[in-house]
């Protein structure tokens, strides 16, 4: 146990209708610990979760703040519905900060028990500001009403060791381990910009600490830059009424109905309880959506080697509850137990690997040309314990591998690492370098936006090619879906607040497979409705998967099956049952719109958030190279004929690629116009004062920012 540097006692606030109405501020630089009031204004305009995070963050920073400025904050909040136990997916913690990768606010969310336990310890939100000189552990005991800050130098850095040790220490007994949750990163987070946060929960059946990640945007890098080694919260006594809801009977009724649906239908639908999100690997492959070798193609015959059945039969421990918060009967948080590591500092040891989730199998698998489940799980483990966002890592390494194969970078630049597609050994060594802070790994950890500049300026790479194939937007790496044939999803990735991440909009099937949104107006509406609807989960502390990874048996009969109307109504009813308010489905969207537009204006305030920042790399929109075009020649030729009235038979390959590009880039611009209009923004992507007024966000602080861009 390290030396106690500061310790205070507090009286945990009673939760009233989902809110403790208090937030906790900790400055790790001067060790100030303060309590703040959560105001009615905050609840009205920002609801909670990501809304509270962004509000506090705005007030903490200036336009000059950079990710490593002491005033940058990590803010986390679970939201008013967070911590209820009767409905699936109610334990998400939302985390915001100014991102090292993008320079604008990032929001990322994680399962695990931290957020709910934090709220039940009396805190709707937690702000972490300042920078310590030495590593710290922050501990919040919600039963005792105790906050302590102690030296943390002696603890290991990697999460699988650190979280296990801290859980054991602060629990005090095996039985109490489930009452402790740890937030930590890992040894690589000090060396890379894509460091992530692990949120733990104890799994009493496996007798080990499990972790879920707030992975995107470099939050772990900030945690370690602040010299915070870990946050620990302890709260014992979880019951279904801790939120002191207005109408617990309604929550019970909706919860039981939903659990029954899960019991009756999951096996017939997505099998989330059996395999989790990785169920989709072969589906994606079938529809040419599985990103392969840096998003060049949408699948590979070898994908069968990383099919769900391979993981189920050879690696995952099945048949057990695997939720990352109580009451989640979707239970998609799968794990491989007794997994023997073959490389790195823990080679030879048997560990539990959380996953693989779909993003992991696609990112660390097909997108790197690696079709080896052992290698995928080993990379998965090391990304987690080292504190590396595996999506940014995978997409960055995919970019590096393509640069390497196209001889834009050479062995002398990579320190001899033969970073060809498929070389799992090289990828694992890159991860170990990130942990050690050595070699090419540290450079790779900068992420694609900075690497493009380094490769061009220092290694003489072709800037145009790198702009085209580097799958980043706003500085954030794309998540793992090939989407060249879905214009709506191109917008779903690029026309986002934080950068290209599928949690704002996932429209590929609706757009490309089911053709439910054929016109620009349809797509624009989808890129209005879904990002707003999905934002709402982040305001309330909810997981999105229970919304549409299972649907009622008669969902197909509804007017809008893609929206899953019955589940939307569940959320409206649960919100009202917890908070005692009377929102409807329109007000739900409006609640999100307020925060979504706030975040957009926040981006503009930080020097981003305009049309030029929403530009997509051409690899996102269409075939960059001759090989890409030729691999799907029949499709692209047909499009030239049918969409442009051209005759591919009389065109050279270069002409066909150029004509395809011109058409697709134009389509993207037209889509952008339509989406901005639908969202109430100018042609440059700026929310208009009229729109801000209409949604009740004509706050002077926002108007001051947008008026400079009208």
């Amino acid at each position: 146990m390290g030396k106690i540097l500061k310790q205070i006692r507090y009286t945990p606030a009673k939760i009233e209708r989902g809110y403790s109405n208090k937030s906790l501020y900790i400055n790790v630089g001067d060790l100030r610990i303060e309590e703040k009031e959560v105001t009615e204004f905050m609840k009205e305009k920002f609801v909670g979760g990501k809304g509270f995070d962004l509000w506090y963050l705005w007030n903490a920073v200036t336009p000059e703040t950079r990710w490593d400025s002491p005033e940058n904050e990590i803010v986390m909040s679970v939201g008013p519905l967070g911590g209820i136990t009767q409905y699936s997916g109610t334990g998400k913690t939302l985390v915001c900060a100014i991102s090292p990768l993008t320079g604008i606010p990032i929001d990322s969310n994680a399962g695990g028990y931290f957020g709910p336990l934090l709220k039940f310890a009396g805190w709707d939100a937690l702000e972490l500001q300042g920078k310590a000189e030495k590593d710290l552990i922050i501990f919040i005991d919600g039963n005792e009403g105790l906050i302590s800050i102690e030296e943390g130098e002696e603890y290991p850095e990697d999460t699988h060791l650190l979280a296990e040790e801290l859980t054991a220490r602060f629990a005090g007994s095996e039985e109490d381990k489930v009452h402790v949750s740890v937030v930590s990163s890992g040894s690589a987070a000090r060396h890379v910009l894509m460091g992530m946060l692990n949120f733990s929960f104890y799994d009493p059946r496996r007798k080990t600490v499990r972790v879920k990640q707030a992975a995107r945007g470099g939050l772990g890098t900030i945690l370690r830059d602040k010299h915070i080694k870990a946050l620990v919260v302890k709260f014992k006594g979880i019951k279904p009424n801790l939120n002191n809801p207005a109408d617990i009977a309604a929550i019970n009724r909706i919860g039981v109905k939903y659990h029954k649906e899960m019991h009756d239908l999951d096996e017939k639908q997505n099998g989330m309880r059996k395999i989790g999100t990785a169920n989709t690997i072969l589906v994606m492959n079938k529809y040419d959506l599985l990103p392969t070798r840096n998003f060049q193609t949408g699948g590979d015959p070898d994908a069968v080697k990383i099919s769900p059945e391979v993981f189920i039969n050879q690696y995952l421990t099945q048949g057990l509850h695997d939720g990352c918060w109580y009451g989640c009967t979707m239970s998609c948080a799968k794990a491989a137990d007794h997994f023997k590591l073959l490389t790195g500092p823990y080679a030879g040891q048997c560990v539990t690997v959380d996953g693989p989730e779909y993003e992991c199998a696609a990112g660390l698998g097909s997108n790197l040309g690696i079709f080896d489940p052992q290698a995928i799980l080993e990379q998965n483990f090391y990304c987690d314990t080292y504190g590396i966002d595996l999506i940014s890592y995978a997409t960055t390494v995919a970019f590096i591998m393509e640069c390497y194969e196209r001889e834009q970078i050479r062995p002398e630049h990579t320190g001899g690492l033969d970073l060809r597609f498929g070389n799992a050994t090289a990828s694992l060594e890159l991860l170990h370098q990130m942990s050690r802070g050595e070699g090419f790994g540290v450079l790779a950890g900068l992420g694609i936006r900075r690497l493009k500049q380094v490769f061009v300026e220092r290694f003489g790479a072709d800037p145009k090619l790198l702009e085209d194939i580097g799958m980043e937007n706003k500085g954030l790496e794309y998540s793992e879906y090939l989407h060249k044939e879905s214009l709506a999803q191109q917008g779903g990735f690029a026309l986002t607040n934080k950068g290209p991440q599928h949690d704002e909009a996932w429209l590929i099937f609706m757009d490309m497979v089911n053709n439910q949104i054929p016109t620009f107006e349809d797509k624009a509406y989808a890129l209005y409705y879904y990002p707003m609807f999905r934002t709402w989960f982040g305001l309330c502390g909810l997981c999105k998967l229970p919304w549409n990874d299972i649907v009622p048996a008669d969902n197909y009969k509804t007017d809008t099956p893609a929206k899953v109307p019955e589940h939307v109504q569940n959320y409206v009813d649960i919100f009202n049952a917890v908070t005692g308010k009377k929102i409807d489905q329109d007000e739900l969207i409006r609640q999100s719109e307020r925060v979504y537009n706030f975040q957009r204006v926040f981006n503009i305030r930080m020097g981003s958030g305009l049309r030029k920042h929403d530009k997509a790399p051409y690899r996102s929109l269409g075939p960059v190279t001759a090989e890409e075009y030729l691999s799907r020649q029949e499709r692209y030729d047909k499009q030239l004929r049918e969409l442009q009235g051209l005759d591919p038979a009389v065109m050279s390959l270069d002409e066909k690629i150029a004509a395809t590009r011109a058409y697709r880039e134009k389509q993207f611009e037209l889509l952008t116009d339509a989406v901005y209009k639908r969202r109430g923004w100018t042609e440059d992507g700026v929310p208009t004062p009229e729109h801000l007024k209409e949604i009740g966000m004509d706050l002077p602080m926002l108007l001051e920012v947008v008026e400079k861009h009208l």
Partner: protein, 129 residues
């Protein structure tokens, strides 16, 4: 294993068992707080109660359900977080809840209803399984 069994052919549907159960566990004459429910289907009486199959044990998200030394499936009220997942997942529809209780409830084969049944239509079966 102990399990409550119901003889449909002699049950008259008087529902004394329900009252005995709710009185024993909740001190109330409220059939909605009974762990056995008698349903009238055209004057044939069907009983819904736990078969002690144990499917709920593995699915419990709080690891609060277990089988005791008599083979009876029990809920550890201290561990239970009241998620009601077991209610939705019970294939027999025999895990019950009440809005004024924080945890669900079920038949634990205690035999109170057996003694209360005027027709001897209920019995506790004991097997080694």
């Amino acid at each position: 294993m102990k399990v409550l069994a119901h003889k449909q052919e002699i049950c008259t549907g008087c529902r004394e068992c329900e009252l005995a159960c709710s009185q024993a566990f909740f001190k109330t004459d409220d059939r909605l707080k009974s762990a056995i429910r008698i349903n009238n289907n055209f004057n044939t009486f069907h009983a819904t109660m736990c078969t002690q199959c144990g499917e709920c044990i593995d699915m419990c998200t709080a690891h609060a359900i277990y089988r005791d030394k008599n083979g009876v499936v029990r809920i550890d009220k201290k561990k239970c977080v009241g998620c009601l997942g077991c209610v939705g997942f019970c294939s027999e529809l025999s895990m019950f809840y009440s809005d004024d209780q924080l945890v669900p409830f079920k038949c634990i084969a205690c035999s109170i209803c057996v003694k209360a049944c005027p027709e001897n239509a209920l019995e506790i079966l004991v097997s080694k399984a």
